[in-house]
């Protein structure tokens, strides 16, 4: 009974406890359900938009379609830069489990060399992992077939048809055309900046891996590139395309039609032979660049694939500096080519009449110093015409002294020296137009900042601090011949749209006007014609069936501070040879400024080059070889060499 009572009591107690525990469990169920529900609300209400976007980006793969880059042709349609299609083997690191193993396995099928691996590694560091990166370029058909048959073994590896840039003429006009190469961080910043500046132009470089680095390829990058198209593709989790959702075709880049004449360019480059130097040929009537030479040059094709280290080292280590664009960047003292401009300055400012005559004793003494002429005993009685034809230093010592540095600088600045011409390729330098202001800017110490009157005198014959690029010299001469109408030099004649063929011509309106008296200009032309007829240019232009004018110049080799190039061979200490010229005399169609580094006298090496260029341009004569060196004229003393030794 007792036991039963206990059992009964226990039963009641047990039941009550059980019910409490069930209640507790029920509360637990509700709490856990609440937690679950709260999490679902969190995901499906508050994070809904975020996850929707992720689901969409999961689902939709936006793949860019890179537009064809525009071609570059010369004025006659000769192709200087174009694209060709080739197959590349590419790996998307994201979709590949073990990169090393994959590449090893691929190399069983396809020839993959150590340099390919090195380049891949370098590109991998720069690229994002979801981009496909080339491991081998220019596959042969057989290699394509071999890989395609085993493609299923290589997830994330694919053969792609890619367009490659090609410069069919190789090194021809390389400095003008430039090259394209792998986009780097600086380029990305540039693209971003450009895209911000012109939002309407729809600049997108998704999928594009190459960009213009120098020359026209850089200057006209955003014309040449085109507008990137894109495809929206629905993909499954394995990355397989399920269907295409939308397709926006790319717009191919615009083509560039140049003012450059490839045949003329070839003749000009050939005329230099192995010599270092530069040449700029302009059409004075509109500023069109007919030839732009800087030798030695380089083969832009080397850069397209990502230049190999040894090629790059070779280009950089070369003492001849093939990557240097001498035509627009290197500034040289103009030497005697400066004299026609000095004469024009004097005429324009009314400080000389052409008839003004001096008696040249062979030197000019100033402030206790002697400035030598290049002819011992002097040229005798010299008027302005003769001063140019015989290149009389003494005449210009006087003239510079009379004009004064401020007047010289003002006039030279006016005709276009000492400033960028605005040619349509990057990397132009300003050169040096010396003046007291320039000196004050250029130097730090008070002592150096002071302008000495003696310095004006050497400026007068194109030496001293004077330094101009071949482009500036050609431009200045063209401006004079044009009676002061200044055209901005330009390499591109027209930008044409690939699809429609519609052409946008580069404006041929003069940028500004310099006031010059036509009589003065005619006088300068006559004087320069005299140079080619009976003066320092006569030997180079002997027998030319056209009329022309020119002026030789010889630039002394030393740096601005008067130090000589250290450790260079004797050849490198020879003076630079200048020649500026135009033809024909009456209606000039071509202006040339040519410079041969360490070429000695202007008459000796630069003038014959100009002759070949003129012969080609005016007569259609092809002479694809180095221009002969004309016999050196016999001056016994190196021009102005002596007087500089006595300058402060």
């Amino acid at each position: 009974m007792n036991r039963n009572m206990n059992a009964f009591q226990y039963g009641q107690q047990e039941l009550a406890q059980f019910r409490r525990r069930v209640l507790f469990a029920a509360i637990g169920v509700f709490l856990l359900s609440g937690a679950l529900l709260a999490n679902l609300v969190h995901l499906q209400v508050f994070l809904h938009e975020y996850y929707s976007t992720r689901a969409e980006s999961n689902r939709i793969s936006l793949s860019p379609i890179v537009p064809n880059r525009g071609n570059i042709t010369d004025r006659n349609g000769v192709v200087l830069a174009r694209n060709y299609s080739a197959f590349t083997l590419e790996i998307t690191p994201d979709q590949t489990r073990d990169l090393e193993a994959t590449i090893d396995a691929l190399s069983e099928l396809i020839d993959i060399q150590a340099k390919d691996r090195r380049r891949f590694k370098r590109l991998l560091e720069e690229a994002k992992t979801f981009e496909s990166i080339p491991i081998r370029t220019r596959l042969t058909d057989e290699e394509v077939a071999r890989f395609t048959a085993r493609r299923y073994l290589f997830p994330g590896v694919d053969v792609k048809a890619r367009l490659f840039r090609q410069y069919p003429e190789g090194a021809l006009a390389a400095h003008a055309i430039g090259y394209i190469s792998r986009i780097n961080d600086n380029d990305l910043a540039w693209i971003e900046q450009e895209a911000d500046k012109y939002p309407e132009r729809n600049i997108s470089y998704k999928g594009t891996s190459l960009i213009g680095k120098i020359g026209l390829e850089k200057q006209y990058e955003f014309e040449l590139h085109g507008v990137t198209g894109h495809e929206q593709i629905e993909v499954d989790a394995a990355g397989r395309a399920v269907r295409m959702l939308s397709h926006t075709a790319p717009i191919p880049g615009n083509n560039l039609v140049l003012t450059l004449d490839a045949a003329l360019q070839r003749t000009a480059e050939a005329a230099f032979g192995q010599r270092r130097g530069a040449l700029v040929a302009l059409d004075p009537n509109n500023g069109a660049v007919l030839a732009l030479v800087s030798t030695p040059a380089f083969d832009p094709n080397l850069f397209v694939d990502g230049i190999r280290f040894d090629d790059w080292d070779e280009l950089n280590a070369n003492p001849d500096k093939p990557m240097l664009n001498r035509a627009i960047y290197s500034a040289y003292p103009p030497g005697s080519t400066f004299k026609p401009l000095m004469a024009l300055a004097a005429l324009s400012q009314g400080r000389r009449k052409t008839s003004h005559t001096i008696s040249d004793p062979g030197f000019f003494s100033f402030g206790g110093r002697i400035f030598m002429d290049d002819k011992i005993g002097g040229h005798g009685s010299v008027d302005m015409l003769k001063s140019i034809i015989v290149s009389c230093n003494t005449y210009y010592y006087h003239l510079a002294n009379d004009l004064g540095i401020d007047a010289i600088a003002r006039f030279m600045g006016e005709v276009g020296l000492g400033a960028r011409t605005g040619i349509d390729i990057p990397g132009e330098s300003e050169g040096v137009l010396p003046s007291p202001e320039w000196k004050a800017r250029r130097f730090k110490s008070r002592e150096q900042q002071k302008w000495y009157a003696g310095e004006t005198i050497s400026v007068g014959i194109g030496q001293g601090y004077n330094a101009y690029t071949p482009l500036q010299m050609a431009h200045a001469l063209a401006n004079v011949l044009n009676h002061g109408r200044v055209f901005t030099p330009h390499l591109v004649d027209a930008v044409t749209e690939s699809g429609t063929g519609a052409a946008r011509r580069v404006s041929a309106q003069p940028a500004r006007q310099i006031s010059l008296d036509p009589d003065h200009v005619d006088f300068i032309k006559r004087a320069m014609a005299g140079v080619n007829k009976e003066g320092t240019g006569a030997r180079a232009f002997a027998g030319a069936p056209y009329t022309s004018g020119g002026k030789t110049g010889t630039a002394q080799v030393y740096s601005l501070k008067g130090q000589r190039y250290a450790g260079q061979s004797k050849e490198r200490l020879r003076d630079h040879s200048w020649f500026v010229a135009f033809a024909p005399l009456e209606e000039p169609r071509i202006v040339v400024a040519a410079l041969v580094e360490n070429g000695g006298f202007g008459s000796q090496s630069a003038a014959p080059i100009a002759r070949q260029v003129f012969d080609h341009y005016l007569l259609g004569k092809n002479s694809d070889g180095p221009a002969p060196e004309a016999d050196a004229l016999p001056p016994a003393i190196s021009p102005a060499g002596a007087q500089h030794a006595v300058l402060p």
Partner: protein, 369 residues
């Protein structure tokens, strides 16, 4: 003959608990629709197979409902021992699938003994407490702990973390309902927490540790273990309140959701039916548990009370663990969603569980008559 059939039908109907039956049918209906959506694009005839699975499961459920609780109680010990022997067999001669030994290859079928334990464990413990006279003392609870731990550890060693936790939980629920004092429960919980570092370094396998780690930061391994959680979260989140519509889930149909017709089917359902669908499903499960607990409270014997309560909560726990892991608040442990996920084994086990609930409910009523 006809008379006989009709009598059989009425007998079966007599042991049918309508609310449970309707709830299970609703859940299975949702399951079929979702399995169809998850698999039709693959072009595999999963739907027919799943219908067959469900019919078999329903048959087991109705059969279990016919067995009186007293008989079930008598089966408890042999059933448990059978499970234990098979588990030991698995440990010694099991077939290795996917790196773990879970299956025992018999001549005809491969059976998974841990599945038997899901039911045998609560049965055994309910039987054990039922036979503690007059009331369970501490030593009984100690023995119960042994009954619980032995198979649980065997399953953990297979290794199958998810099932061992669920089998352990089923046993623990019985002990809890049997009245284990809170002091001991809390004490055990604290010592369990204290033992976690030991379990972490000596018991858990690498892949289990990784799963738990990636739970806390799925983004740390987006292409590996975290991929499942990230993709299912995207599916659920992108479903929004109303869902993308049946058969229209992009995550599902573009194969972004792994195991989408089995363990991760809740992601499919949530993507296509949204928060609305997910919460309705949750309501169905709560109703199922609620009905089960009502049956437990009204059950006449200690054995049936304990068993009914434990089975009810187990059903909820399975659903909770599955939804929790798919929606990213619990580690991925490989538990199917009851009555929804594709697959026969778990479906049959759970149906038997529901059948037992029905039996407890209906035999009590009949007994009263």
């Amino acid at each position: 003959m006809l008379f006989y059939l009709r009598r059989q039908v009425s007998r079966i109907r007599a042991h049918l608990d309508m609310p449970l039956f309707v709830l299970v049918l609703l859940l299975m209906g949702v399951g079929l629709a979702t399995v169809y959506s998850a698999t039709h694009s693959a072009g595999v005839g999963r739907l027919d197979k799943q219908i067959v699975n469900m019919l078999i499961a329903l048959a087991f459920m109705l059969a279990a409902a016919q067995v009186a609780p007293q008989k079930i109680m008598r089966l408890a010990l042999p059933f448990y021992l059978l499970g234990l022997v098979l588990l030991i067999g698995v440990a010694l001669f099991g077939v290795t699938v996917n790196g773990s030994r879970r299956w025992l290859s018999l001549v005809v079928v491969n059976i998974q003994p841990s599945e038997i334990m899901k039911i045998a464990m609560p049965m055994m413990l309910a039987w054990f407490f039922h036979n503690c006279e007059p009331e369970p003392r501490l030593k009984h609870f100690a023995i119960a702990a042994g009954i619980l731990l032995l198979p649980t550890l065997l399953i953990l060693k297979q290794p199958d973390l998810g099932t061992s936790l669920l089998v352990g939980a089923a046993g623990f629920l019985v002990i809890f309902f049997a009245g284990l004092s809170w002091k001991i429960i809390l004490g055990a919980m604290f010592s369990a927490i204290a033992a976690l570092p030991l379990v972490w370094s000596f018991v858990l396998h690498d892949y289990q540790r990784r799963r738990i780690l990636t739970l806390f930061d799925p983004a740390s391994d987006p292409l590996g273990a975290g991929y499942h959680i990230i993709q299912s979260s995207i599916a659920i989140g992108s479903g929004g309140v109303l869902g993308k519509g049946w058969l229209k889930g992009t995550q599902t149909h573009l194969e972004f959701i792994p195991e989408k017709h089995t363990d991760f089917i809740f992601a499919v359902l949530s993507e296509e039916w949204g928060l609305l669908g997910g919460s309705l499903l949750l309501v169905l499960f709560i109703a199922l548990v609620g009905r089960g607990l009502m049956i437990a409270v009204a059950a006449p014997t200690l054995f049936s009370r304990l068993l009914a309560a434990a089975i009810s909560l187990m059903l909820f726990l399975y659903a909770f663990v599955n939804m929790g892991m798919v929606s990213g608040i619990l580690p991925v442990v490989g538990v199917p969603l009851p009555f929804i996920s594709y697959g026969g084994t778990a479906l049959v086990t759970l149906s038997i569980g529901v059948g037992i609930l029905m039996s407890i409910r209906t035999h009590r009523t009949l007994g009263k008559k």
